[in-house]
Symmetry: C2
Subunit: 199 residues, 2 copies
């Protein structure tokens, strides 16, 4: 025995959300139908709206509803420093830190040859052209400290070598508020290698 | 700094799903926009479809896309035995057990005076009339073994007393495959009180 087709379809459709398995999808569906039909209508409208309106910024590839995003267009930002990140969520995280006044380039992913994602798919050729043409002074690599993120960073370092642009990588080490005891070995190794002399 | 309005709206709208907090809603939104726009379109359509098509069965109050649900119209079911459950998910659970051939009455909740949910809100008056009018032979109470579920069951027992209908409650005890060591005290107490002589 199953639920009626429209209910089964909704359970199935909810599974496209990350982290939602068959049981949660069923719970969500019954919750919406029993207690929050207005929420379901609203969610449907928000989904269509986002899919229709949100596209990539033509300069930094971040999500935006405009042609050029608010950060790229902002005259107070220093366009000579570009921070390269993997996703829009990373842009938000850096912005939240309040310590960066340059602009971004969002790869929307990382190099992953096994999934057929090469330099072109994440816009590295376009980025390279732009760095050369616009006389960028510094490129800060803030890809994730994962195997793929590191590979992407090294690829970029190679690519930009000889262009006369300063390339830097954000520091990896012990997070503030973290206890040494609970920090994993490779992070500690990074923290030691990256130590700085106290002046 | 925030995401663009359409993105923020979608993050907000996803929070109507049970178990989805601000971080998961953001992750879901970015996942859909980055990697599964077709899934988002499909989800929006499924939501609208379910909200428009799914209503309550006029006899048992279960979810259905018809006036009377498939179980209520099925001529092979014994309409003289009614199993009372709290939600459509409970109907599915009992059906899955394959051991019940009667019909259901779905309360779509339980008595909860503190939330303003009295006998009328969960259709108990209608159910009572039906039991009397249709000459039902047995009512099986399968509400949840929670405080509210028990209260609802006792209310029904009171209500049906004197109508000449047999009222039973499903057995509570040690689940099959469970180990006594890990079963909580009140379940064990139930299992002991409800013991049956071996014949």
């Amino acid at each position: 025995m199953n639920f009626s087709p429209a209910i089964e379809d909704l359970i199935q459709a909810l599974r496209c959300l990350p982290g939602v398995g068959p049981k949660s999808a069923q719970r969500m569906t019954l919750h919406l139908l029993e207690r929050d039909r207005a929420g379901a209508d609203n969610l449907a409208a928000a989904l269509l709206d986002a899919v229709n309106k949100v596209d990539h910024c033509q300069r930094c590839r971040n999500f935006t509803e405009l042609d050029i995003c608010e950060i790229c267009i902002d005259p107070r930002r220093d366009t000579s420093i570009i921070c390269v990140v993997e996703t829009p969520a990373d842009v938000l995280a850096v912005e939240m830190s309040g310590s960066f006044k340059g602009i971004y380039y969002v790869l929307m992913g990382h190099l992953s040859p096994i999934d057929g994602i090469g330099p072109e798919e994440i816009g590295l050729d376009r980025f390279h052209r732009r760095v050369v043409e616009e006389g960028v002074s510094e490129v800060i690599l803030a890809t994730n400290p994962t195997v793929e993120g590191e590979a992407t960073a090294y690829y970029l370092i190679d690519l930009l070598q000889g262009d006369g642009v300063k390339v830097s990588r954000i520091a990896h080490g012990v997070p503030l508020g973290g206890e040494l005891e609970y920090v994993d070995g490779s992070t500690l190794a990074h923290a030691l290698t990256g130590r700085r002399q106290v002046e």
